[in-house]
């Protein structure tokens, strides 16, 4: 989307659109701009993992158990170099990390998308209908938010068992309440504004008022919270996988890779847990830096 903005700016005389001003404000902060570039690179690496990794770490024909626990920079039986070393099954750490990243990002992105949908729907419903519907939904939100996410996720996974689908469900369940609360709060404020009244006077259909008028105005805080929550989700997924209640061993995420490496820490074989952890940190940090900057930009109270 930035590319589009840049090319159109080159062709047409620069017009001050809200989006373009926002983009230029955003890129004025070098740290946030670098963080965004890193996120894009990481996402591309994850999406195109099969094409960018030297081997498919889960194709047993491509790995050799004789290459296990090799130090970074060591050569394989066939003379290939493992720049980041290998794990206990002789998998190339770099390839395993990219595939792990793919898993981590996939799980978090899917869970967050569903949570946004659910949370926004319930939040708007609560705000628009008010009364009993509102108080029931908000009671559930309050109840859930009074308990830490990790506790809720742990209990859920303890009851349901492991699995990618179950992790997604757990990550979704611990997130939706944040969106519901934010959207409801904003919608309640927006609902009292004149433009909603005007739309109602025009007898516009309800769904149109909600989707064309109410929701777009709730968007800025939603974007900030969703950014922060994606980072949380990635971190939580890694934690759950580390604790052994997350994704199955056959499809390891970054968290599970670290967990595997944890066994070898005391013998000084650092690379199996250090490198996936660095990648995890880089991912979460970049998202948080972008989120932090977005919050500064989108919060009108701070802007003044």
């Amino acid at each position: 989307m930035t590319d589009a903005a840049l090319t159109s700016a080159a062709v047409a005389p620069p017009v001050e659109t809200p989006f373009r001003r926002f983009a230029s404000d955003f890129f004025a902060n070098k740290v946030a701009a670098v963080a965004l570039v890193i996120i894009v690179i990481l996402a591309l690496l994850a999406i195109f993992a099969p094409w960018v990794t030297p081997q498919n770490p889960y194709d047993l024909t491509q790995i050799s158990i004789f290459d296990n626990m090799l130090k970074p920079g060591a050569k394989s039986m066939e003379g290939k170099t493992f720049w980041l070393g290998t794990d206990e099954q002789g998998r190339d750490m770099f390839s395993a990390m990219i595939y792990g990243l793919r898993m981590s990002l996939f799980v978090s992105a899917v869970a967050t998308s569903i949570a946004v949908l659910v949370g926004v729907s319930l939040g708007v419903t609560a705000a628009y209908f008010g009364g009993r519907v509102d108080s029931i939904i908000m009671r559930i939100v309050d109840l859930q938010l009074s308990f830490p996410a990790i506790l809720i996720a742990l209990i859920l996974l303890a009851a349901l068992g492991k699995g990618v689908d179950k992790v997604i469900l757990a990550l979704m369940l611990v997130q939706w309440a944040y969106y519901a609360r934010t959207v409801r709060g904003n919608a309640l404020v927006e609902r009292r504004r004149e433009y909603i009244e005007a739309a109602q006077c025009l007898a516009l259909p309800r769904y149109r008022i909600i989707f064309r008028h109410l929701l777009p105005n709730c968007l800025p805080p939603l974007i900030v919270i969703a950014t922060v929550q994606v980072a949380h989700a990635i971190s939580l997924e890694a934690t759950l996988s580390f604790l052994g209640v997350g994704v199955p061993i056959t499809e390891p995420s970054l968290g599970l890779l670290i967990s595997n490496g944890y066994k070898y820490i005391l013998s000084g074989k650092y690379w199996v847990s250090v490198f996936p952890g660095l990648m995890l940190l880089l991912t979460i940090l970049s998202i948080n830096l972008v989120g932090d900057h977005l919050r500064d930009l989108l919060n009108p109270r701070l802007k003044a």
Partner: protein, 325 residues
């Protein structure tokens, strides 16, 4: 004041009852509680004894009553693995977890408040910027990985600190505490630091924002006009104002510390109730899981209640509006 405490206590009871109902529904109503609460190798006599004890032959609402009644008597079943009473098992591990959480909480305040104030006073200079960047890194660090890296660095490479376990403890009121035995302190350092790191970042942010806001207030200007020293203005006028939200948040975070101790205890083999929970999940020891959940829910409700009462004591304005309203 009393009316306020009573009303808040009523809310807490409501939260515990709701969570008890949720646990009851998921364990007793949906699944077969005999399968969940008894070991798979239980014989017919044990099964029938359990059916009578849990009142499974009675109607649903009565069963919920029996569940609550048993819960009030501290009976949430027996551990399959340990064979002992689940509640006692968890309460036995509670001091280790509480100690870890409280030490981490104090660490978070002692590290975070000064750093946040310094950053808030120097928000334009490199000092403020580096502290705030550091706090974002602290927010982003995956907790368990940070713990592993501490082990790698301080235990494996430098060999300064033990890699795990609780170490020697001292005894008070029949409970064991690492703090009471200096020989046990090295074991406490890394787990507490790991647990604290996220909260340190949180406290830095709160103290930073609070300091910046307070420094712009007229009362700070007035304090300067009175000729007070900078240390007095920051140490009394600003600190007292920013401490109220920080204490509130930290108090509320004690609950999440206890929950997050699950991770720290697993990394450092710290024998607390979080480690017990993970072990129990791995071995499908369901009574312990149920007992852990109910105990933690109860603790949460209690902590929130205490924090709210403390808050009203700390901030005179809250007290007034409450008695007036």
């Amino acid at each position: 004041m009393l009316a306020y405490i009573l009303r808040r206590a009523g809310q807490s009871v409501f939260v515990v009852l709701t969570m008890a109902a949720l646990v009851f529904v998921s364990v007793f109503a949906i699944g077969n509680p005999i399968d969940i609460l008894l070991a798979p190798d239980a014989d017919q006599i044990e099964r029938e004894a359990a059916i009578v004890r849990l009142g499974l032959d009675k109607p649903m609402w009565e069963q919920f009553g029996v569940f609550l009644w048993n819960m009030l008597h501290g009976d949430l079943g027996r551990s399959f693995v340990h064979g002992s009473d689940a509640v006692h098992l968890i309460l036995g591990r509670l001091p280790a977890t509480l100690e870890l959480a409280i030490v981490a909480l104090v660490m978070a305040a002692l590290i975070g408040v000064p750093l946040g104030i310094v950053a808030g006073l120097n928000s334009d200079s490199w000092i403020g910027r580096s502290v705030m960047t550091g706090s974002i890194i602290g927010f982003s660090l995956p907790n368990f990985w940070f713990g592993i890296m501490m082990i790698l660095f301080f235990a494996v490479e430098l060999q300064w600190l033990p890699s795990g376990g609780r170490g020697p403890t001292g005894t008070l009121f029949g409970l064991e505490f690492s703090l009471l035995n200096p020989a046990g302190w090295p074991n406490l350092v890394m787990p507490a630091m790991t647990l604290a790191i996220y909260k340190v970042s949180l406290v830095i942010r709160l103290a930073y924002a609070g300091t910046r806001e307070a420094m712009l207030q007229d009362y700070v200007r007035f304090a300067r006009a009175k000729g007070l020293s900078r240390s007095r203005i920051v140490g009394v006028h600003v600190l007292k104002n920013i401490l109220i939200p920080i204490v509130t948040v930290l108090g509320l975070e004690l609950g999440s510390m206890i929950a997050f101790a699950v991770v720290t205890e697993t990394v450092f083999a710290w024998p607390g109730m979080g480690k017990l929970l993970i072990d129990s999940i791995a071995r499908l020891d369901r009574p312990v899981i149920v007992a852990y959940l109910m105990i933690v829910v109860g603790m949460f409700a209690l902590i929130n209640l205490i924090v709210d009462i403390l808050y009203s004591v700390l901030d005179p304005r809250v007290r007034i509006t409450e008695t007036a309203g």
